[in-house]
Amino acid sequence: MSATTAASAAANKTVKTLELDEIVVRFVGDSGDGMQLAGTQMTNTSAVFGNDVATLPDFPAEIRAPAGSLAGVSGFQINFSSHDIRTPGDQVNCLVAMNPAGLKSNIADLEPGGILLVNEDAFNKVNLQKAGYAASPLDDGSLKGFRLFRVPLDKLTTEANKGSSLTSRALGRCRNFTALGLVYWMFNRPLEETLRWIDAKFGKKPEVAEANRNALKTGYYFGETCETFIENYKVPKARITPGRYRKLTGNEALAIGLVTAARLAGKDVFYGTYPITPASDILHQLSTYKNFGVLTFQAEDEIAAMTSVIGAAFAGAIAVTGTSGPGIALKAEGIGLAVCTELPVIIINVQRGGPSTGLPTKTEQADLLQAVCGRNGECPVAVLAPNTPADCFNMAIEACRIAIEYMTPVMLLSDGYLANGAEPWRIPDEKSLPHLKVIHPARKNGESEFLPYQRDAKLARPWALPGTPGLEHRIGGLEKEDVTGHVSYDPENHEHMVKTRAAKIAGIAKSLPKLEVLGSPQGGDLLVIGWGSTYGAITTAVERCRAQGMDVSSVHLRYLNPFQQDLGDLLKRFKRVLCPEMNLGQLSKLLRAEFLVDVKSLSKVQGKPFMVRDIVTAIETMMKGNNGR
């Protein structure tokens, strides 16, 4: 960290303000400690201030795990910077621990010499025991490698609200704002944004608003006046493309993208789904868009969700279902029906740790093969994957485009990390958005009868809507004769249909943009290839290695079925190919099968995203294996 110094006098001490270009702060505490809220406020404040930001929330699977337990620790990491960043950061520069359990499960990620703010009031015997500490780590010297600040957050919060009519329990709930206030002082963040939020949020409960305001300010003043704090930091604004911005999580971006796509197509969204972490927020968000004509249907299970969407697509809606891995397993037969009936439906999989219930709140990319191959019969669907939270907006529109143009189900692979991670999103100019053209036939396309499987140049069949006179037709899961759509058991026809459905999906490649290569598209020593949410870590790692002079490039796939047309050639222009994935090598397998290229897999399956250094290390190792070239 390079730093420039400035001196500022506050109270009767001298505070040095160091300027840094990037800081990673992590808030950790009990599920009930309001860590997500504190982190979100810090994110908003930093984004509005003008930094680039990237976040990583991390919550336990249990809603109310026993208070103070390791299982109940909830965390929120934010990286804010004066330059372009793509990940929430490998190492934490400042850890805010609200209790012993939070400290214990997170201290390993704090950089040596990092800032450690702890709520000393929570380090009592009971909490220490629950976290499995024999003696308090605050006193036994085990934290001497860090800059430890013991802060009496409970006491500060109570004192700040002397005379408040709130119960001491209710006041206790404000201590996250006391912590936040102190962090704001530490990193020179303005209070206004959060004060405004408190007023808007608790407008109807003035006592609560008052208590939170007091807590925030008290934390801030504590930093300003307490003698132990002699240094704080600032991170200047980043140089960001001018425009109007808003912070979006991946799930929010998906919801907004779907509604946008429907508008661009002149249609309404039907979202049929069954609640499941980490996809439920898409439902929550879409259910607030009723004035956009969005119909949400909370079905009785994922099978009903999937099949309701088939009905909705048949009836003419932009039909979407969303779930996570276990839900996709249940939807598989329905997806087959959508493939056979050739209807435009969007299937969102916000992947989480598997198999089975797995790690519901953690991220993973292990459903790629399920997406590409996981159905009975030859059953191809288009598969797309956004690579950042904000990219979820673009890919939702792209999924709708492909579904409509090709009359096909499209699977969109997000994951827990994209879903809950947030970044600034530049609000697009409406005119820059694509027009999604939808044609519903009004007249027969055959001599005497309507031909529901007569195809256009893209092999798409007509989207004829019930209610249209003269176009009455039947669709279904039994094999159909091409063109007429009559049930057919003819062997030649079946093979023709299997090949036609495959050719239709393969043909989507013609409509896809060219690959964007970071580094040298003409080839070189090493190509790092990834897909989905690993984009930030891979790109940052490759940039670092290139800065050190290594001949390494990267490409990131957002289209997984079909692949872009120039992928095969690109792969062959590199001596080696490395593929980091949060699974045991699923994309590697597909690339090897498709292109006969010796792809090396770098896998991490811990429910956690890659660190930049994980990838840098792998690149370095591979480059060394290249005889020091």
């Binding site: 003008g50 508008r263 004035n291 099978i303 009905g311 009868e449 037709h473």
Partner: protein, 338 residues
Amino acid sequence: MSQALTQLTAKDFASDQETRWCPGCGDYSILAQVKKVLPTLDTPREKFVFVSGIGCSSRFPYYVNTYGVHSIHGRAPAVATGVKMVRPDLSVWVITGDGDALSIGGNHLLHAIRRNIDLKIVLFNNRIYGLTKGQYSPTSEMGKKTKSTPMGSVDFPLHPISVAIGAEATFVARSVDVHVKHLEDVLVRAAKHKGAAFVEVYQNCNIFNDLAFEYAAGKDTRDDHTVILEHGKPLIFGKNRDKGIRLNGTTPEIVPLGGDIKEDDLLFHDERAPEPTLAYLLSRMHHPEFPEPLGVFRAVQRPTYEALANQQIATARSQHGEGSLETLFDDGETWVVN
């Protein structure tokens, strides 16, 4: 072009597909009655959608010249729900079998009914799995010997009407494939009901479960073994209409008419009773102990799911105005970078 409604006949609803049920199958008769009823409903042909699951019965949509979806096993109510929510103006029918509706699709059936979504659900009950060649079904009687149960089945059956009532159905009826006129009347009533209408049709599978409902279907037996439900009328049955159903406490009993017992002593049917108690009690009258009720068990009004869901959209639009991309994008905290 939409044909003038009055001109439509059963023929207009015949598709060009060859019907492939076994000769003598009860499905033919049900198809014929449906085709007879559709033209009478003041609905243009293009506004009908038939959705089915999988089974012999579920081939039905191929044989009517309307819009149709032959979906997957058990899921027809969910597919139909999607259609109806998006297009409340369509007349959406679900065709299903006893296995389709009550085994694999039991969940969807319950939820479609409890939501009171305006679907016409016709369950072809043949008490057997026809298409998979004769395994017992969830409506097969205990001890049923089939290919999969050579020593007899050891599970207790479900009773479709009881299930529907348990799921809070607003319209529940039963008829028999060969009771042409009765079936026609019941289908018309179902079609005109606003909300989920559940109709069980006793259907003969002459290949794998022949004569399962002979007591209710046969000319010689049916009068003594069924009782026709009519709203506001007493429950009288028998070839000579000389027997009735009387309530003894909360238990029905068969009593002879004439002598001491007058019509007024009998149980009077009330399909509009707000509580489903009576309808449920009737659904528990089983052969051979009782004559089995045919007709409308229950017909009450409740708002429909698709109407309420679409009403919320209208309300949101009047409260917040029609959404635009601008309001969608600018929602929440935004900031400007220069």
